[in-house]
Symmetry: C2
Subunit: 324 residues, 2 copies
């Protein structure tokens, strides 16, 4: 069995070997730039680990895994233009380092290259892999569109938010596992179970991320929190707070959401106080526990020896145990 | 055998039937909008016609043909953002009617949808189709990048220009034919011949387009000419003029290229006069004839009865006979 670290090393090595033409440089340099920065490679590793549940020969899943990592980075590249983000993994985003046109086009090339890797899968599984990949890719676009739409929509609910992060984040985690399972010649039942395991894990992971943005210890988590609060980001936390707050608390919260000029730290403190008074952290944590338990039950049902599932189980646990 | 008109009707009908989810509307409405405008559908028709050379059952080539039309429209959508174009087929471009973010993301979705159609090809040809499609798609991106790079590069030659239009325009025409041939179970030799036929035809077609921009009768061609001259677009005509002009002629031409404030009609007249004096129209026309003759010879070599090739031959002839 391959550990997560071993999977990471395989992916990192193969990413470094991606062959692209030298010219036109303005099309291909940004792609090298993107893969020159370190990523956790969670999704392609999930593909390898899912394949590894069913076979010791995971070579067959490497190209599809690379396709998923290329696709994921393509979405980040285009999302960064749309969100006008300055930084990604501590470095300038492509559209800031070059310009929007370069970022649009090199993103397009990255998506095509993702399909190029996926196309190099064995003929016996190619159509199945494409089917999962196409559906997922379109859903990720839908998730990004909902995310942007929510910025200007007033009537977003916690349920809408869960739907959005399911599309934007969790279906790709789910598909990474399913694609690995298909490569490992898993049966339909098992690959669907792994998909659902990933879907629940992915939503839990995103909620954890939202929670950490408010409640993380910046010394441990590595980024200073509260960004979502400052930006009025319609997260699970905020949507629940708006539903649960009433009277004076709701008035204060609404007031903070409407303010144009404010001291960031003051706003973070005030909104966090409201979250605390409404026990939003507990609500979110219990939602995470619920999703994570569901995920574990689904993994339990996958019809391979318990022993083979340990690495994936441990990895899921690690993923959820990011320090507060 | 299917005529071009019959192929057009098949494609148009199937494009109208494309099923997309209703939500999120801002992702899918632009795609419906794009296909609500009439196009000539040259590329998907070429796929059907190429398939029809080898078999009477062209049904198998319809999904790949739709994939090509979706891909082509995806490139137009993203190119329009990059070129900041106002109009496309007489209607507002997507990024003008909505905004850049909507245009980026619905373009991405269109590219994914193109792969979705391509993926619905028979397993026996799927890998071959993907291989041609991926390579071509990446080359089209390269062509667009060169086209943008040329705007700020001083040392562009006529050869550079030919290379650029080969990538940006002609490889997709070539691939449309090759993909149709593969669907029709053509041998490697024949599908390669059709690719080369399309490549030459595509370059000739683009040169014809450049020529018509300067020399077309606007009453017949439907758009007023000279746009390339006004914009200093580095076309085959301009690159040749810059090479051939000397002395006073070169000075006048360079002067016009450097002017910031000018009367458009005056500039068009002046530069056209220089083109005439240097016989740029004759040079371009003979290049077109050369490419077109090469294309016809390649089509001649395709190993099916002469009778079956007539429709494609006639179509190529029509394509080149757009009125001046």
């Amino acid at each position: 069995m391959y550990t997560f670290k071993e999977c990471q090393d395989i992916i990192e090595k193969r990413l470094m070997e991606i062959k692209l033409p030298a010219e036109p440089a303005s099309l291909y340099d940004p792609i090298h730039y993107v893969f020159g920065s370190e990523g956790k490679r969670i999704r392609p590793c999930l593909t390898l680990m899912a394949c590894n549940l069913f076979t010791d020969s995971i070579e067959v899943s490497i190209n599809p895994a690379l396709a998923i990592e290329l696709f994921h980075n393509f979405t980040l590249l285009h999302d960064d233009i749309m969100d006008n983000s300055e930084l990604r993994r501590g470095r300038l985003t492509v559209h800031k380092k070059w310009n929007n046109n370069v970022a649009i086009l090199s993103g397009d090339a990255m998506l095509i290259k993702a399909y190029d890797y996926l196309s190099q899968s064995p003929g016996s599984v190619l159509a199945d892999l494409l089917s999962v990949f196409n559906q997922t890719a379109l859903q990720v676009c839908e998730g990004q569109q909902y995310d942007m739409d929510f910025e200007s929509e007033m009537e977003v609910t916690a349920a809408d938010y869960l739907k959005m992060i399911e599309l934007k984040t969790s279906v790709l985690i789910a598909a990474s596992l399913k694609i690995g399972a298909i490569c490992g010649k898993a049966g339909k039942m098992d690959s669907d179970l792994l998909y659902q395991f990933g879907r629940n894990l992915g939503i839990a992971f995103q909620l954890q991320d939202d929670l950490l943005d408010v409640y993380a210890d910046p010394n441990v988590f590595g980024k200073s929190g509260g960004g979502d609060i400052v930006a009025n980001k319609k997260t699970f936390l905020l949507m629940n707070a708006l539903t649960l707050a009433s009277g004076k608390t709701l008035a204060i919260l609404t007031d903070w959401l409407g303010k144009k000029d404010f001291n960031k730290d003051e706003k973070i403190r005030a909104v966090t106080d409201i979250y605390n008074s409404l026990k939003i952290n507990e609500i979110t944590e219990s939602k995470i526990v619920e999703l994570f338990s569901k995920a574990r039950l689904l993994l339990d049902k996958v019809s391979v020896e318990k022993e083979r599932k340990k690495i994936l189980e441990q990895f899921a646990l690690q993923l959820m145990k990011r320090e507060k």
